[in-house]
Amino acid sequence: MTELFEKLSLYMQYPFVKYALIVGVLIALCSSLLGVTLVLKRFSFIGDGLSHVAFGAMAIAAVLGMTNEMPLILVITIVSAVLLLRTGQNAKIKGDAAVAMISVGALAIGYLLMNIFSKSSNLSGDVCSTLFGSTSILTLTKTEVWISVILSVLVVAIFIFFYNKIFAVTFDESFARATGTNAGLYNLLIAVVVAVIIVLAMNLVGSLLISALVVFPALSAMRVFRSFKSVTICSAIMSVCCSALGIIISILAGTPVGSTIVVVDIFAFLIFTVIGKVSGGAKE
């Protein structure tokens, strides 16, 4: 045991480990906050769909030979998010089908582009690391860390500031609209924030696993807690703990960061389900 701690404190001296922890925790925090709303609005898969769009955008940026891919990816993802969440209300193609279509389409186009135009010798390695996030979290530069910090603070601030509105719009959109809340505006806000989180989270867990960060904390918290506020707070705390633990384990054990975090999330979900069953049973 002491050996483990020594190893850990040794690793902690490296800036890249510190960066990974900071960014990982922040992304987990942001995604779990929005996760509660997305799960309840029946948009669990939007994270998945958008991350595939981001993957496609990344491929386009690579083909164009752009040095800084972030702005392009962000713009394309935000536009897709807005379109997807807008269609939720009265589209010809319903929410889940639209997400499935865009998600798979973007994935295919992205891979095709990478395959045709890539100059890299290790194509499957590149694709794999974008999909599963493998090591990019450990190669963050100081600028990227700062961008993540600023965007995360912004996301948390927006969430706290509009918390009551987000609750109203999530629980009953037509009542909110009837009583003069601009539901369209808040849906747009949610869409943009989700897109920003997804682009950030691609570094951490890769595009295939982002949904896990969105869905698991919210669902786990809902097993145990019964008010919107307590569910939100619990899912934020749980998400932060799980991702910190996941990153530490992956560094010590040399496992891939993204999938380790998701496995920790799965364990937490199982524990919460048991707690929910036991405490729910005791109450009745």
């Binding site: 009551n164 629980f171 037509s174 009583t179 019964r226 008010s227 919107f228 307590s230």
Partner: protein, 236 residues
């Protein structure tokens, strides 16, 4: 000036007109029931009154200092709400949304209002309970408390008793009646329950092939009512 006036209203969706040339007025203190067959445009009319949907032509005018966003609305339950983790307190408080404007948090006054309405609906002991664990009647009272936070003058109820058992249905009607009589709140109710409509309302709007608007005494004698009343109370 009437509290709410509909002038020459034509309603429909996707460019298809289902209601044409509708004219009626609601005075303060009225209890109006809107009846009609399925698909006759009751819900569309309600959405138009609430400003959720634009009419094809004509207009809805509010008067006596009532703003469109100050109509308390009791919607039908949605699928999303069935497993929504929210306490009674959180839901009722969200009815104060139209008082907030851009202000992000609820004031003390709004919290007091929510507390009052919870007490009025007899839900005080359930304040911290989770909405999805309540019975159907209790859930309706929670949504009614929320609607009362949003309004002082007018309630719009969309089939408030659907899915409730007879005893709870009677309680719900009594509650709505006392809001109308004792608190002077104008009530607009969409209902399939023609018996209750004739019993409680003072005005009836029947839409469909034949349109009728007037007092319930006149309605009972009118042509559209006969087909409906003979069908025997619970028409669907």
């Amino acid at each position: 000036m009437a509290l709410l006036t509909c002038e020459d209203l034509s309603l429909g969706y996707d460019g298809k007109e289902i209601v044409h040339g509708l004219n009626f007025k609601i005075e303060s203190g009225d209890y109006l029931c809107i009846v009609g067959e399925n698909g006759s445009g009751k819900s569309t009319l309600m959405k138009t009154i609430l400003g959720l949907q634009a009419p094809i032509s004509g207009k809805v005018v509010t008067g006596d200092g009532l703003k469109q966003s100050e109509i308390g609305y009791l919607p039908q339950q949605t699928v999303v709400q069935k497993d929504f983790p929210a306490s009674v307190w959180e839901i009722v408080l969200s009815g104060c949304g139209n008082r907030m404007g851009m202000r992000p948090f609820y004031s003390k006054e709004e919290k007091r209002l929510a507390k009052d309405k919870i007490e009025k609906m007899g839900l005080t002991s359930l304040t911290k309970r989770c909405y999805r664990e309540l019975s159907g009647g209790q859930q309706q009272r929670v949504l009614l408390a929320r609607a009362l936070c949003a309004t002082r003058k007018m309630l719009l109820l969309d089939e408030p008793v659907s899915g409730l058992d007879p005893k709870v249905t009677a309680e719900m009607y009594a509650l709505i009646e006392s809001l109308n009589r004792d608190d002077g709140i104008t009530v607009i109710m969409i209902s399939h329950d023609i018996g209750a409509a004739v019993k409680y309302a003072n005005r009836i709007l029947h839409i469909g092939r034949d349109v009728f608007f007037g007092t319930k005494e006149d309605y009972v004698k009118s042509a559209p009512a006969r087909g409906f009343l003979e069908g025997g109370g619970a028409n669907d």
